[in-house]
Symmetry: C2
Subunit: 201 residues, 2 copies
């Protein structure tokens, strides 16, 4: 089987959410696995000088409209959360904790549940209590999740993931890497498809 | 005939150039005319805090690769110009001058020739001498173009166009407005198509 593709996303990124609903299916079409990597755009922005979309004059208002239209255009359930954007450290660390404890498959399932909670059911995923509930809802033992989220080990792991992501050129969400070729944005999935199909772009 | 659609672009924007090769054809499919509006991203950036893509850490390098890949993906002739980006005041004013003197159709033809000169033939379109040559090549009398470009009338006209564009929410290139619905980016042309087809999005 060819190498896995890398999928980077921030849990508060609508385009990252849209991508999360399609990436596994797209990769499977070409016999590829997907490695899911939660990142923190706030950390990236320190290097790029970027800002959360809603804070940018003109582009901010436009983006809110574009989120909604793009979701409808692609047939993806979506509602702008009341708390938007919000810090995603806890959600990202929780995913790494689930991965360490239960493995990749359940971690991806957890990530999908977090995205759905935030962008469909308007759950405040900045709150570790709500994150633990999402885990419990999946049948995971979340009684020690809060402790895990705050452990030095998980914090270091996320920091290392961030360093690696940025060394690989990841500066936005979603960001997909196929055989060293990076693609930024859900609107590049047609090119990701072509790259997977032809082995080049 | 339904209302014309508005096409905003900066002459130094690769995505604006890509859009310029497709916008007329797309509009014609739905019986629409296109009004072409040259804008200056430098002016917009004063409001949005934006920067030319190549100057942004990480995103800059990525963009250069994305220009190239996107051109190939869509089958558009393209080469990164040696002087990139560059100021486009002269090109934008020249287009308005052509429009005043020769009408919309020739102005659009001129805009296409300027884009091709810059993004295919690596002509420095920041230089009014080269811009005049492009006009001459089309059979226009460019002997008074330099004077036109520097006239208070044309300068005021570009300023008024910019004010109107920003009042309409234009903050990037390309930016297309269909019946008050704005779309930013060549990668939204699939949604522009749907909007033209269905009258909503």
């Amino acid at each position: 089987m060819a190498a896995a593709i890398h999928f980077y996303f921030d849990f508060a990124s609508p385009y990252g959410y849209f991508a999360s609903t399609r990436i596994d299916e797209l990769a499977a079409k070409y016999g590829r696995d997907v490695e899911w990597h939660p990142i923190l755009l706030g950390v990236v922005f320190k290097t790029t000088g970027g800002m959360p979309l809603p804070m940018i004059p003109m582009k901010g208002e436009y983006s809110v409209r574009d989120f909604e239209r793009s979701a409808r255009f692609h047939g993806i359930a979506y509602k702008l959360p009341q708390a938007f954007p919000l810090p995603t450290q806890s959600a990202a660390r929780a995913m790494l904790w689930v991965k360490d404890k239960y493995g990749d498959e359940r971690a991806i399932e957890f990530a999908k549940a977090v995205f759905k909670a935030y962008f469909v059911d308007d759950v405040n995923i900045g709150d570790p209590v709500h994150i633990a509930k999402i885990a419990s809802g999946m049948g995971l033992d979340s009684s020690r999740m809060a402790e895990g989220i705050n452990s030095a080990q998980v914090k270091d792991q996320l920091r290392a993931e961030m360093d690696l992501a940025m060394a690989r050129g990841v500066f936005g969400s979603p960001y997909v890497i196929v055989d060293n070729e990076g693609f930024w944005g859900f609107d590049r999935f047609d090119q990701v498809d072509a790259m997977l199909k032809n082995g080049k772009i």
